[in-house]
């Protein structure tokens, strides 16, 4: 059983709640990105806590590429029902009309049109002045330099050389017309913090995170789950059932599963602590967080490489305490 450092988690929780309240108090039209993954689930939980007994005072925005795991959409709708939040689902209708899909158009073009452009459309359409996202500073090297309140010009561009200094907890939330803010309340959380918090707070996640027998194909080491009949098999490919789970969730044809027996939160945490590979290696493209869907420092995600899956080495629970934690990732 993993040990929980509750004082550390409580401090992170309080910091995130303070940030969420600052958004609600300072902006006219905030919106929270909801990607249905574990980070989003933590954000949702924190937002419920921040405003209790009020309902979350801003809508949740899901950018739906139409290629998400079906289970994610079911889960999303159930959460909206259960917690009574305002859910906005946006799909790039141009992309839909042109039949943009990950098989014919390649993952980078598909991602650009159905995610990056779709997000901008949704933000512009809603005239949102603040978009709350679940990005963390431990995810990537350039992310480590992003502010908690990260300014975007009217073209949604981030200028890392002219970021506003952030001192103490005093956040400069002022905007000129057309400008907007990206806000990252869990900036200071690590992947392990996210998982231990989910465990401590018993936050519900889509079952895809937990090991189960699922139909997959193995493409050069990446396990792709067959979620519906739109999947295009390569010649000779056949789905076979394997016990797998996902470390991140996204578009099913672009999301690699890992072979794992971890079917409970403690098992996942222990497996993760033993892992010698970074979180992102399961992604064929980056996840659904706000920052990653946008240009970073003026460059787009141009490449998409299939990284080899390195299987987690099993480790005994007793070895966990002294074992350092996966904190760092990136190319």
């Amino acid at each position: 059983m993993p040990t929980l450092d509750m004082s550390h988690l409580r401090a992170l929780e309080a910091e995130s709640i303070e940030i969420l309240r600052e958004v609600a108090a300072s902006f006219e039209r905030p919106v929270m990105m909801y990607s249905i993954g574990k980070d989003s689930s933590v954000l949702l939980h924190l937002a419920r806590k921040a405003f209790f007994p009020s309902k979350i005072p801003f809508p949740l925005l899901h950018v739906n590429t139409t290629w998400k795991f079906r289970e994610m959409i079911t889960f999303r709708d159930r959460m909206a029902e259960q917690y009574g939040f305002d859910l906005i689902s946006h799909t790039n209708s141009d992309g839909l009309r042109d039949g943009i899909n990950p098989f014919d158009h390649g993952s980078s073009r598909f991602t650009d049109i159905m995610k990056t452009q779709a997000l901008r459309q949704a933000l512009d359409a809603g005239r949102y002045d603040a978009a709350i996202g679940g990005a963390r500073r431990d995810e990537e090297k350039s992310r480590a330099k992003e502010r908690i309140f990260s300014h975007r010009n009217a073209q949604h561009a981030w200028d890392p050389k002219h970021q506003r200094p952030e001192l103490w907890r005093v956040f400069n939330t002022r905007l000129n017309p057309g400008e907007s803010m990206r806000v990252f309340p869990i900036s200071n959380w690590t992947e392990l913090d996210v998982w231990t918090y989910i465990y401590a707070e018993q936050i519900e996640l889509p079952a895809l995170y937990f090991a189960k027998s699922r139909p997959v194909v193995d493409r050069s080491g990446t396990l792709i789950m067959i979620d519906d009949d739109r999947f295009r098999f390569e010649p000779g490919e056949k789905p076979c059932d394997e016990v797998v789970r996902f470390r991140t969730l996204g578009d099913y044809p672009l999301t690699g599963a890992i072979r794992s027996e971890a079917a409970t939160l403690p098992e996942i945490i222990m497996e993760m602590q033993a892992s010698r590979t970074s979180e992102r290696e399961g992604r064929l493209i980056d996840s659904d967080s706000v920052g990653s869907m946008e240009k970073e420092a003026g460059r787009l995600f141009l490449t998409c490489k299939l990284l080899p899956i390195l299987r987690p080495t099993p480790i005994s629970p007793s070895g966990l305490a002294s074992r350092p934690i996966n904190r760092f990732s990136g190319f």
Binding site: A144, K145, W168, V170, N172, S275, R299, F328
Partner: protein, 602 residues
């Protein structure tokens, strides 16, 4: 946090910390080994700085351009490292990192010793209240582990840092590249008796009990889901708050009791510093974002003027008289730098006069806000004493400041505005409420002139009142003697009373010796925006003593009265009086007419 100059090896140091803590994963390690080709590497064949220099621009320039946050943990502690750039152009980022840091690593390149940057960084650390510093003398491999040179650097740093108020200060010689004194003490520095870096960081005591401080609860968001619930959400900035506590609101000073402390996980009996909660009070009082709750008797300062130290972070210089937006805690108000008292040379800590502050400069300033704000001195509470200044056009963050103390004048403003105000009351009496302050020696004719003036005003239907020194000492000030301190307090009280009476619509004539220039200035400041005239009744001491209407000079000369103004206690003649009346040359009636004409009472 870490700070150092360009090429001090900060990125290498942090990379080494991550590597030694085994935080670099297999897939990353492999790609690092490839990238490290043709670069300076340690024995592991890795350029550790590649681990941390994220943005392309930085890699190309070989420098770190912005604050970056790294995470690592050991068995003992969790660390968040704010990696702040050493490049001169980006010094402002250091203040950002320092503002939330418990401990700072100051990097010194052993080949270069203590530099201008080192001094500046240390000064900013001190300014932002960082109490624990580790001087990391890096690259000792490049000077062959020269004990004398290293100890020389440590001595130089310690003598410079003496006045900076650090609670703990350690100097550790390391080679981040080779790993000397990082995890374990190095055999190549047998003379070094201290701990190596990581064990030191794991054990240094940085605890500080903020829960014992006076309670501050800045209201962040008013929580009103329906008509039956009205709560105030915020994070406890210091101290503790409990159910049934009586609390006061900073702005209105309205009292209330805490009825409930609400969280989604259930109600709490008590909330401590750092906890994000929602307070429900026992009664309806007017509360909005920016208000600060505290316990009675432990209120924050509430004022519209204060002295602060300001770190300027913008290419556009800071000037006196320019208007900015000031944000402190959850309060945001327009504010003006009213005075740049001096600039501190960050290399020598010397103070010099200045009329502007440029990028990276630190100045001591007074700031006036458009309306009063609640605050504490930064040294007692960073969260209620630290502020930023924002450009009113571009919305850029231009500077950050730490409050030293509130200024007097500000504390004497009206706290709550009422609909019936001075203008209304003055209009009822068909006059402009004002204070006419007479100063001059005993026997100079102040009271006689004031008396005649009051008669004339009254005859014309005006409402005036004389506050006379002797009379007030019979009542309000009968506890005060005639020492210098007592005279100061005497004047302060009278000035406050005069202000209240003028605020009620009266023309107040104050007849007090008021011998000290400082206190006369204080009286004028206390009056604030009330019309105030200082009238000097200038009558030579010999004339006054010859008149001696109350026989006081005689008694003083006989030694019966001590500290008598003009004899054994000084009178500082006013240099900036609004009107001087020469008491030896004319009768009081003529002087009173002169004064009446000058005052232009409508």
């Amino acid at each position: 946090m870490t700070c150092g100059s360009v090429d001090d090896g900060k990125s290498t140091l942090i990379g080494r910390l991550l590597y030694d803590s085994q935080l670099i994963l297999d897939d990353q390690l492999a790609s690092l080994r490839n990238e490290s080709h043709n670069r300076t590497t340690g024995e592991e064949g890795i350029d550790f700085s590649l681990l941390v220099d994220g943005l392309t621009a930085e890699r190309e320039q070989g420098i770190t351009i912005d604050v970056a946050y790294r995470f690592f943990s050991t068995d003992q502690r969790k660390f968040i490292v704010a990696d702040t750039p050493g490049h001169e152009q980006y010094t402002r980022n250091m203040a950002t990192g320092a503002s939330n840091a418990d401990l700072a690593l100051v990097l010194i390149d052993a080949r270069k010793g203590v530099l201008t940057q080192t001094r500046r960084h240390s000064f900013i650390l001190s300014l932002l209240g960082v109490k624990h510093v580790v001087v990391v003398i890096n690259k000792i491999d490049l000077i062959n582990y020269d004990q004398q040179a290293i100890e020389g650097i440590e001595r130089e740093y310690r003598s410079f840092a003496q006045t900076l108020g650090f609670k703990t200060l350690a100097a550790i010689p390391v080679s981040a590249l080779k790993g000397d004194n990082m995890l374990a003490t190095s055999a190549r520095t047998p003379w070094y008796k201290g701990k190596s870096l990581v064990p030191y960081l794991e054990t240094v005591d940085i605890s500080e009990d903020k829960s014992e401080r006076p309670m501050r609860f800045p209201v962040q968001w008013v929580n009103r889901p329906n008509l039956d619930f009205r709560g105030f959400s915020g994070t406890v900035a210091s101290g503790q708050i409990a159910v049934d506590d009586e609390v006061l609101l900073s702005a209105s000073r309205q009292p209330a009791k805490v009825a409930q402390i609400v969280t989604m996980d259930g109600q709490l009996q008590r909330a401590s510093v750092g906890e994000a909660v929602t307070l429900v009070l026992d009664r309806e009082i007017d509360v909005s974002r920016g208000d600060v709750f505290s316990h009675p008797g432990e209120m924050p300062e509430y004022s519209n003027q204060f002295q602060a130290r300001l770190v300027w972070m913008s290419q556009d210089s800071a000037f006196q008289g320019r208007s900015y937006l000031l944000k402190i805690g959850t309060q945001m108000v327009p504010a003006t730098i009213t005075d740049i008292k001096f600039r501190t040379n960050v290399n020598t800590l010397e103070q010099a006069a200045a009329n502007k502050l440029d990028l990276n400069e630190v100045g001591t300033v007074t700031i006036a806000t458009d309306k009063p704000i609640a605050f504490d001195a930064y040294s007692t509470n960073a969260l209620t004493g630290g502020f930023i200044l924002v450009d009113r056009l571009t919305n850029a963050t231009l500077g950050a400041g730490t409050i030293d103390f509130g200024l007097r004048r500000a504390q004497n403003l009206t706290y709550q505005s009422f609909d019936v105000n001075r203008e209304v009351r003055g209009a009822m009496k068909k006059q402009t409420p004002q204070i006419v302050w007479f100063t001059g020696l005993s026997g100079s004719g102040k009271s006689s002139i004031a008396n005649l003036l009051e008669r004339r005003l009254t005859a014309q239907g005006k409402h005036a009142y004389i506050l006379d020194g002797d009379n007030v000492r019979h009542g309000l000030n009968k506890d005060l003697g005639f020492t210098e301190a007592a005279r100061v307090e005497n004047i302060r009280r009278v000035a406050e009373v005069a202000r209240l009476m003028a605020d009620s619509g009266l023309i107040v004539l104050v007849s007090f010796i008021s011998p000290f220039a400082n206190e006369r200035r204080l009286a004028r400041e206390i009056a604030g925006d009330i019309q105030f005239a200082e009238i000097y009744v200038d009558t030579p001491l010999e004339v006054c003593e010859a008149r001696d209407p109350k026989g006081l000079y005689k008694r003083a000369r006989a030694g019966e009265i001590k500290n008598f103004t003009g004899l054994d206690s000084p009178f500082e003649p006013p240099v900036g009086a609004d009107l001087v009346l020469h008491g030896a040359e004319h009768d009081p009636s003529i002087l009173s007419d002169e004064l009446y004409g000058w005052l232009k009472i409508d």
